[in-house]
């Protein structure tokens, strides 16, 4: 809308006509107090804290509902306004306990702040206050009724933002009370957004309440370790005798890719880190076959010694490496470099949850610039969702899509074989057979024989194809040629952008960094390593290695001498029988004694994603910074372990991690194009205004190398600064010839195994979260007693979003 000019406190401000005054002021650095107003949620105008004086208007006006227009004149602070706010605070405090020192919100309470700023020192209210006991509504949500100031933020976030509608307002006037959907408890998605958004201490979290004070914690921004959306979460950490304990997860600064949102996993499921059964000492299998505690030196020596022996005696081809979906890009990159240059093998894989390689290849040159950031799920005018159930598997993307429909009237088209909750926001839904995902694309592309086409189906297709631009999200229902068909279809539309939905925080990073037997970092085929040979300072194995299944097949045949597993539990996930591995030397870097770790000869206690630094890439290709928050004495990062083992095996740390100066100086080229160019890494660093890193254990040294060498991770304008500032940067997949189909070789085996996680599960890691377990248990018990489906507590039906949209 056209800009208008108006005056606030004597300052001329400009904003698009119709902007809410409170927002226009915020943008200009004028803070107006608010309780009920919350950006993005329906206006409530319930609290009267935002009162301002508008010239030529009789009464004070609420800034949260006033839209700016040309020539208006406002005053936001004056004795009159202060008096009005003082009266409001006094009313709010009428029945509010005056015991901030024992309230869980003390120190970060908006009412406390407002009372300090405007409140009266005395109260005229002399009646006895009505006390009510606190109630526990769910494993995560507690309610303390007298503290509630009836701002209705919680109700709106649960209705509009979550489309769960588990909270409501009962009764009216002074007797109004926030009520949970099941009478005395909640059945909901347990996201905790209501707690986070509550301005006072009325809603509190089962994880955090009464444990500490906000000012006693350090607050570290990092990335959630669970699903592949990669929400930014701020972890509250406190010193503990074993290191640093994580006490809280939230996103109050709303700075990240996820804005206000966190799901239960990002907000509460960090508790695995504090579990008493975390491994803190390396374990070695002794002569009697028992795992016994050992020192780090013993464990690293044993690992390096055995690996070297086996590499010499049986060759790199007899060693397998399985990487992780939850380690950083730097660790993944280092792991594949270690596997290929030190162990001498391409037998490296990971639990693949989506076919990113096919996605990158399918995009190719024509799809350049067509990969979508997660941010676009909140702003795209039209979205096609093929397969997947984002509510369960991509909670942030689901939140964004709901927001997009609610605030931008976006049109959401859902193609699925089973009803999913997001259909309540959908403009249209196409129900297909479970095996009909490929046919669905043919149908959408115009082939009427692909699906039993009825009018509804054709209507869906026509509406979709008439969209001037379309964001296409597809789940792991599509792999290999299926992915190619999706991209082909999309590239035939007016303007389509794409994202591939996998599982786990760094599954995209694992694929990007080459934890694959046939592809190097940046999806370069192992047969054409190009400059990497020289960069890595020696020969690289050039035939594709064994994939994860083949690795275990080899073990069964007795052909696998050693297996090196980092942060993964393939034994459980792929149902590997323990006997399969009885002749294999197994090293496992893990937090817990998982099914895989139990079979290991060496178990190395690993730090988790919250205890290290580096970067991760979400399933949309948005790279973000991970910061060390927690700390557990005795554990080491996977990065450090790999470097230590490699050097103990005789590798040159400088070749693995470019640190210090002159790393390439001793490569000794005396002829050819590179002659005289002593240190390309140093040259690159200088050109990018970066310093050499000083330690072989510094993950950012590897980030430098990734940016320098990995197609798709090239430094972007402002990239490193943005990354370090905690912002997400969207990376376009490489479209180098490497990724073109000519080099793809024979069709790759389909090894995609979706994690099939729900809101309350998270692979092996989820099993170690008490909070997730308690919620799961609550819902399983509820399901047993009420016959409801505990995992989808929210019944299908017309949604708040849908209603709002039609309204």
């Amino acid at each position: 809308m056209a800009d208008v000019t108006f005056t606030v406190d004597g300052k001329k401000l400009t904003a698009p006509a119709g902007t809410l005054l409170i927002e226009a002021c915020r943008a200009a650095g004028i803070a107006i107090p608010q309780f009920c107003y919350y950006p993005g949620l329906a206006l409530q105008a319930a609290c009267r804290m935002c009162l301002v004086r508008q010239e030529k208007v009789g009464k004070l006006q609420t800034a949260c509902t006033t839209q700016v227009a040309e020539g208006q004149v406002f005053t936001t602070e004056s004795p009159e306004i202060a008096q009005a706010r003082k009266a409001t605070v006094e009313l709010v405090l009428g029945n509010h306990p005056l015991d901030c020192p024992v309230c869980d919100a003390g120190g970060e309470c908006e009412l406390q702040d407002m009372t300090f700023k405007y409140g009266a020192g005395v109260s005229l209210y002399t009646e006895a206050k009505q006390h009510r006991e606190e109630q526990q509504w769910s494993p995560v949500v507690f309610f303390d009724r007298p503290r509630c100031i009836l701002c209705y933020r919680c109700v709106r976030v649960c209705n509009e933002g979550m489309d769960v509608a588990a909270l409501g307002v009962q009764s009216r006037g002074v007797t109004s009370v926030i009520a949970p959907n099941m009478g005395d408890h909640l059945e909901c998605e347990e996201c905790g957004n209501c707690i986070d958004i509550c301005p006072v201490g009325a809603l509190t979290s089962g994880t955090y309440r009464y444990k500490t004070r906000p000012w006693e914690m350090n607050h570290v921004s990092t990335i959630c370790t669970h699903c592949a959306d990669g929400c930014k979460t701020t972890l509250g950490v406190r010193s503990a005798n074993y290191g640093a304990e994580i006490i809280r997860g939230d996103n109050r600064d709303r700075s990240g890719i996820n804005g206000d949102f966190l799901c239960i996993k990002g907000r509460y499921a960090f508790d695995f880190a504090n579990r008493p059964d975390r491994l803190t000492k390396p374990l070695l299998r002794d002569k009697d076959g028992q795992l016994k505690e050992a020192t780090w030196e013993q464990a690293l020596d044993r690992t390096a010694g055995r690996l070297r022996e086996l590499r010499e005696s049986r060759g790199g081809g007899a060693i397998g490496v399985i990487g992780s979906n939850r380690t950083t890009n730097e660790e993944n990159y280092l792991l594949q470099k270690f596997a290929r240059t030190v162990l001498g093998t391409n037998n490296i894989d990971h639990h693949r949850t989506a076919d990113y390689a096919a996605f990158v290849r399918a995009l190719g040159e024509r799809g350049r610039g067509r990969s979508a950031s997660l941010r676009e799920t909140a702003s795209a005018p039209a979205v096609l969702l093929l397969g997947n159930d984002p509510t369960q598997e991509h909670p942030l993307a689901a939140w964004n899509l709901r927001t997009d429909v609610r605030l931008n009237q976006a049109r959401l088209y859902v193609v699925n074989h089973t009803p999913i909750k997001l259909e309540r926001q959908a403009t249209a839904t196409l129900r297909i057979p479970q095996d009909g995902y490929g046919n669905a694309i043919r149908f959408l592309a115009g082939d009427d024989t692909a699906l039993p086409a009825d009018d509804a189906g054709r209507g869906f297709r026509d509406a979709l194809r008439a969209e001037p631009s379309l964001l296409i999200l597809f789940g792991s229902e599509y792999r290999g040629a299926g992915v190619a068909r999706v991209i082909e279809f999309g590239l035939g539309l007016a303007d389509a952008r794409f994202a591939c939905l996998g599982d786990y925080v760094n599954s995209r990073g694992a694929a990007d960094m080459g934890l694959l037997p046939d592809l190097l970092p940046g999806y370069l085929p192992v047969s054409k390593p190009g400059g990497l040979v020289e960069e890595y300072g020696g020969a690289l194995p050039q035939t594709p290695g064994m994939d994860l299944i083949q690795i275990f097949d080899a073990a069964a045949r007795g052909d696998l001498a050693a297996l090196y597993v980092v942060g993964s539990n393939p034994v459980l996930r792929y149902g590997i029988a323990p006997e399969t591995l009885k002749n294999t030397f197994i090293v496992v870097q893990e937090m817990f004694l998982t099914e895989t770790a139990q079979l290991a000869d060496v178990v190395l206690p690993a730090a988790n994603l919250y205890e290290k630094s580096g970067t991760v890439t979400n399933t949309f290709g948005d790279q973000q910074l991970v910061n060390k928050a927690g700390d557990l004495a005795g554990t080491r990062s996977d990065f450090e372990m790999i470097v230590r083992i490699a050097t103990k095996m005789g590798a040159d740390a400088k070749k693995l991690v470019p640190y210090g100066r002159g790393v390439r100086a001793d490569m000794g080229q005396s002829r050819g194009a590179q002659s005289g160019e002593a240190d390309r890494h140093a040259v690159w660093l200088a050109a990018n205004n970066l310093e050499p890193k000083l330690s072989p254990l510094d993950p950012f040294a590897v980030l430098d190398e990734i940016e320098r060498l990995v197609p798709g991770y090239e430094p972007q304008a402002g990239g490193r600064a943005e990354l370090m500032a905690g912002n997400d940067i969207h990376l376009e997949p490489p479209s180098a010839p490497a990724a073109s189909s000519a080099d793809a070789g024979p069709a790759r085996r389909d090894l995609v195994l979706p994690a099939a996680d729900t809101l309350f599960t998270s692979g092996t890691l989820g099993r170690y979260s008490e909070k997730l377990n308690s919620v799961l248990e609550a819902y399983t018990t509820a399901a047993r007693t009420t016959g409801r489906d505990g995992l989808s507590p929210v019944a299908a039906g017309e949604s708040a979003g849908e209603r709002d949209r039609r309204a």
């Binding site: 909270l167 009216r172 009520a179 959907n181 017309e798």
Partner: protein, 172 residues
């Protein structure tokens, strides 16, 4: 949403509800009138009624409860056959509303918002019912009785007790 196949309501009311939800741009707009009709037929808005109404208008039971708890004329517990609503708002108060209310309590031996043991009468003190010109006024179910005195009130209650010539227009 299609019409409910299994319903708690009489065929006539169920058909009426099927139609009502189609009359508004949003189904939920039919909520308050539906609740009133349902209450008249069923006597109270119990859990089963709430569940059916919620599904008919496509909102959660919690949202239906939010609305019921907002309006004082919507009830979740059954009331007496005759629900006596005595206005004590200003016009009625000036013309003896409080006395009428006291007389009711005395005669029916119940307090505000209570029901007589035989289930015949329930009593409620209400705000202005829009009959100020003929204050003091009492509403029994949907019938208004105006310009009352304690004596005429007595007679009125007796009449209801014996159903002496007073047509019950329903609506509890």
């Amino acid at each position: 949403m299609s019409a409910e196949t299994q319903t708690l309501f009489s065929p006539g009311l169920a058909a009426r509800f099927d139609r009502m939800v189609t009359l508004y741009p949003q189904r939920r707009s039919a909520l308050v009138p539906m609740l009133l009709y349902a209450q008249d037929e069923m006597g109270a808005l119990n859990d089963a009624v709430i569940a059916e109404v919620a599904s008919r208008v496509g909102i959660s039971e919690l949202e239906v409860r939010n609305v019921i708890s907002y309006y004082s004329m919507l009830h979740t517990k059954p009331r007496g056959k005759y629900h006596v609503q005595v206005c004590t708002n200003i016009s009625c108060m000036l013309r003896g509303g409080n006395e009428l209310f006291a007389r009711c309590k005395e005669k029916l031996k119940i307090e505000n918002r209570e029901t007589t043991p035989d289930g015949l009468f329930s009593l409620e003190e209400v705000e202005c019912i829009g009959a100020c010109s003929w204050a003091p006024a009492v509403q029994v179910n949907y019938d208004f009785h105006e310009n009352l005195t304690p004596e005429s009130l007595d007679a009125l209650l007796d009449q209801y007790r014996t159903q002496n010539g007073l047509a019950d227009r329903g609506g509890r």
